[in-house]
């Protein structure tokens, strides 16, 4: 034996309400050793991570934030099923200490499931400020789990959490089942159902916990359709009939006596339990009136200035991203240019050199130079999220969103859509109503994502110089306008019906931490960089191949060489001047490049589809860029980069902007931005769309955005022609 004792593994699940600071605690516990991925089988994002501490390895999963463990949203179901089926050895329940009563509601449901728990009262500094003093030891006894005070943003309490997990794992903390009573009427019916269940064959094995049967009975009374469906699967016909009968009679009985649904009574009892426990352990309590947060809200949610403030914040973000973000982008561009020059010197002439310079550096580099701007955008979104303003934005937008048949909550995925459409689609899961969700997903494509940004920066910068910022802003506004129009359109045509009611917590304003923001930003930026390193690298190589092969035939090359020779001879013999010589050389070079492109696969494809794009004012190069842009909008810029750097001669490598300015006019530039805005973002987003909404909806998305993009661009070009 080589000495070391094997580390013990403990599986840990983090559970908590949204805004409880769960993710911060998770980050504190795992540090950098984490992984973002989809929960197996579904597309809800969960984070997992590991932590080595003492002789233990903690396998930690950060389950989605939920207010309760019913079955009304996917997040709730995942959290519940993870606890039920994966049976984590320790559940860490993160609780916002500044509003215990509401947060402990979730805790009661974990207690009902008989979880081995550690309770973390996060943001405990706020607890003292709120004027509440608690006897934590007593409260811990009442809730049947150790309580740890933490301040996630300052990293306070992390070690104690780990220590306590070990204690629970080693059964040093006496675990006892805390019984929550739901009142006589409900209890009687629970007993009846429980008794019936225990007679069923399915539940007839010894290992089964009596508490589990009670839990199922409570869930059945709560009208939990998932639990019922799962149960019915395992029952015989006769048993099914029995259970349906008893449920109906129980619910009716309770309703007749108390006048309320069992759901309400059970919820009331849970809150009653929490209230009682808090009352019991409160040492003193002083009411707090208008808090600081409320004061800010008086301004930010104001009927008159709320909306202007929101617009101002949005405008500020755009200015910051485009003006400030321009400097690092230029530095990066310079870096890539130098890299290109370096390869020009180092590598021998030939296909490899061309592949690296024109294919990889131009393609991937063309996308990577926009990273600083995208980082800035993600930082801004993270600040809005972490400070609590995002929820206020939803509130402010609710009235407007209501007009188009959606509600304020739909606005958040749309805001995230400005960063990237893929997480935006995932974020629509917070909308419980299916029609609301589908509309929000379909119109999300009009929220200009980070991938489209490079196109705007390139074209607006080229054709509008000083006004670039305002033009880009206008493109975003047009996108929002389109989204509004189509939300309305889809609501009256395809997805009829009322929108879902709007209920949403407005978290207390918090000063975001730099660490939290950087982590959020980096998670999302990394996806962008990863995309550049994988999909876009692959596409760049493919595009390069398309642009390079088949190469021109020998005859043409000989003709070229002969003409070069002739010009050189003419110059040496003094027939033409120096400037005439250079002019002729560059003409012949341009001619060769043009022939090369015409000959290549890409050139042929471009010319083949050009007629479709001609009415929009696009030549074959823009047509080709639109096609490759389906892979990812970032590719549009890199395709154009490749087109023009191969298209022009090697010796005098033209700046892409200059090339664009020489080839197209202002109208075409604007129209192309519009076209790119309107058609679907990328293949990756379609894959997510398909997963979230099904194949039929995905094809609808593809069809309707392509038709729309073409039609709008057609109209703009045909009308604009008369003015420019």
């Amino acid at each position: 034996m080589i000495g070391k004792i094997k580390n013990k593994e403990i599986s840990v699940a983090l559970v908590g309400s949204p805004n409880s600071g769960k993710t911060t605690i998770f980050n504190n516990m795992t540090g950098a050793r984490q992984h973002v991925g989809n929960y197996p089988g579904v597309t809800v994002e969960v984070k997992t991570g590991t932590k080595k501490y003492k002789d233990y390895i903690f396998d930690i999963i950060d389950l989605p934030g939920t207010y309760s463990l019913t079955a009304f949203s996917e997040e709730e179901v995942i959290t519940r099923n993870h606890i039920l089926k994966e049976k984590p050895e320790v559940v860490v329940n993160i609780i916002d200490a500044s509003n215990l009563e509401r947060n402990l509601y979730l805790t009661t449901q974990l207690i009902e499931m008989n979880c081995k728990m550690v309770l973390v009262f996060n943001m405990s500094d706020l607890l003292n400020k709120s004027g509440l003093k608690l006897n934590l030891e007593l409260l811990s006894q009442l809730l049947g789990a150790p309580i740890i005070l933490s301040i996630g943003t300052k990293g306070v309490g992390t070690q104690e959490i780990l220590e306590n997990i070990i204690k629970i794992y080693n059964e040093e903390f006496e675990h006892k089942f805390v019984f929550i009573k739901y009142g006589d009427e409900v209890e009687t019916e629970i007993k009846k159902i429980q008794e019936l269940l225990s007679k069923f064959k399915f539940f007839d094995h010894e290992s089964l916990n009596k508490n589990y049967l009670r839990w199922i009975s409570v869930k059945l009374l709560e009208n939990d359709e998932l639990i019922l469906a799962e149960l019915l699967q395992n029952l015989s016909e006769e048993e099914k009939e029995k259970i349906n009968l008893i449920l109906e009679s129980s619910v009716n009985h309770i309703k007749r006596i108390t006048g309320s649904y069992p759901t309400t009574l059970i919820a009331e009892a849970r809150y009653g339990f929490v209230k009682g426990a808090l009352k019991e352990s409160t040492i003193y309590h002083k009411d707090r009136e208008l808090s600081f947060s409320d004061k800010i809200d008086q301004v930010i949610l104001n009927n008159f200035i709320g909306l202007p403030i929101f617009a101002l914040i949005m405008w500020g973000i755009f200015q910051l991203v485009f003006k400030v973000g321009d400097y690092p982008t230029q530095w990066l561009q310079l870096g890539f240019n130098k890299l290109s020059e370096l390869f020009t010197i180092l590598l021998p002439e030939g296909y490899l050199k061309s592949l690296i310079i024109d294919g990889i550096v131009a393609g991937v580099g063309g996308v990577l130079v926009f990273t600083p701007k995208i980082m800035l955008l993600f930082i801004c979104i993270a600040v809005l999220e972490d400070s609590g303003y995002m929820a206020r934005a939803a509130f402010i937008m609710d009235r407007i969103m209501h007009r188009i048949g959606l509600h304020g909550k739909s606005f958040i995925p749309m805001l995230i859509g400005f960063g990237c459409t893929v997480p935006a689609y995932m974020c629509t899961r917070t909308l419980e109503n299916k029609n609301d969700r589908l509309i929000t997903m379909h119109i999300n494509t009009f929220m200009s994502c980070g991938g489209r940004l490079p196109i705007y920066i390139l074209f607006a910068g080229t054709f509008f110089q000083k006004h670039a910022g305002n033009i880009i802003f206008s493109i975003y506004i047009i996108g929002i306008f389109m989204a509004v129009l189509f939300a309305k359109f889809l609501r009256v045509t395809r997805f009829k019906g009322e929108s879902e009611p709007f209920v949403m917590e407005l978290p207390i304003y918090r000063l975001p931490t730099i660490r939290g923001i950087l982590m959020h930003m980096w998670e999302r930026t990394w996806l962008y960089i990863k995309k550049a390193g994988t999909i876009i690298l692959a596409v760049s190589i493919i595009i390069w191949i398309l642009f390079t092969f088949p190469s021109i035939n020998k005859g043409l090359l000989e003709e070229y060489n002969a003409q070069i020779n002739q010009i050189e001879i003419n110059y040496l013999e003094g027939k033409i001047s120096r400037s005439e010589f250079e002019k002729q050389i560059s003409t012949i070079n341009a001619w060769l490049s043009f022939k090369k492109l015409e000959y290549s696969t890409a050139g042929r494809i471009g010319h083949f589809i050009e007629p479709v794009f001609k009415p929009l004012g696009f030549d074959w190069r823009l047509a080709l860029a639109s096609i490759t842009g389906m892979v990812g909008k970032e590719v549009v810029v890199s395709t154009l980069g490749t087109t023009f750097s191969i298209g022009s001669s090697h010796n005098e490598k033209e700046d892409l902007r200059l090339a664009l300015r020489n080839t197209y006019n202002l109208l075409i530039g604007f129209n192309f931005m519009l076209f790119c805005l309107l058609y679907f973002p990328c293949i990756a987003s379609l894959a997510v769309f398909q997963k979230e909404a099904g194949t039929k909806e995905m094809f609808f998305q593809v069809g309707f955005t392509l038709v729309l993009a073409w039609t709008v661009s057609f109209i703009v070009y045909q009308i604009g022609k008369f003015f420019i």
Binding site: F72, E101, T263, A267, E268, Q298, L506, I508
Partner: protein, 107 residues
């Protein structure tokens, strides 16, 4: 179990006071819809007229029969915010029309 037993008793007592207060309030103030409540005033939730799903969701957010809420922000025709259990919650017009409340008169 001693403590828990005591807790449950506590809860029953609480329930009774809620019922008592309900009756008292009926005499003092009339029941209105939350949508028509005025900013800055406190109300007691009397009834939520909605289906299973809505009630369950509101309960999870802390909005439950018998609770005292305060209208923090009222807009014309738009959403509103209320304070309940120390949390601020934004409610759409639709929901605000489904919640029946009675004003709590402070001495």
């Amino acid at each position: 179990m001693g403590l828990n037993h005591k807790l449950n008793l506590e809860f029953k007592k609480e329930n009774k006071t809620i019922i008592n207060k309900k009756e008292k309030n009926k005499e003092e103030s009339k029941i209105i819809l939350l949508a028509h409540a005025s900013q800055g005033k406190k109300y007691k939730i009397v009834n939520i007229a909605g289906g299973h799903c809505l009630i369950s969701r509101l309960n999870a957010m802390g909005i439950i029969n018998g609770d005292i809420i305060k209208v923090i922000h009222q807009t014309w025709g738009g959403p509103m915010t209320i304070a309940v259990k120390g949390v601020r919650i934004a409610l759409g017009r639709g929901i605000a029309h489904k919640i029946e409340v009675a004003e709590v008169l402070e001495n």
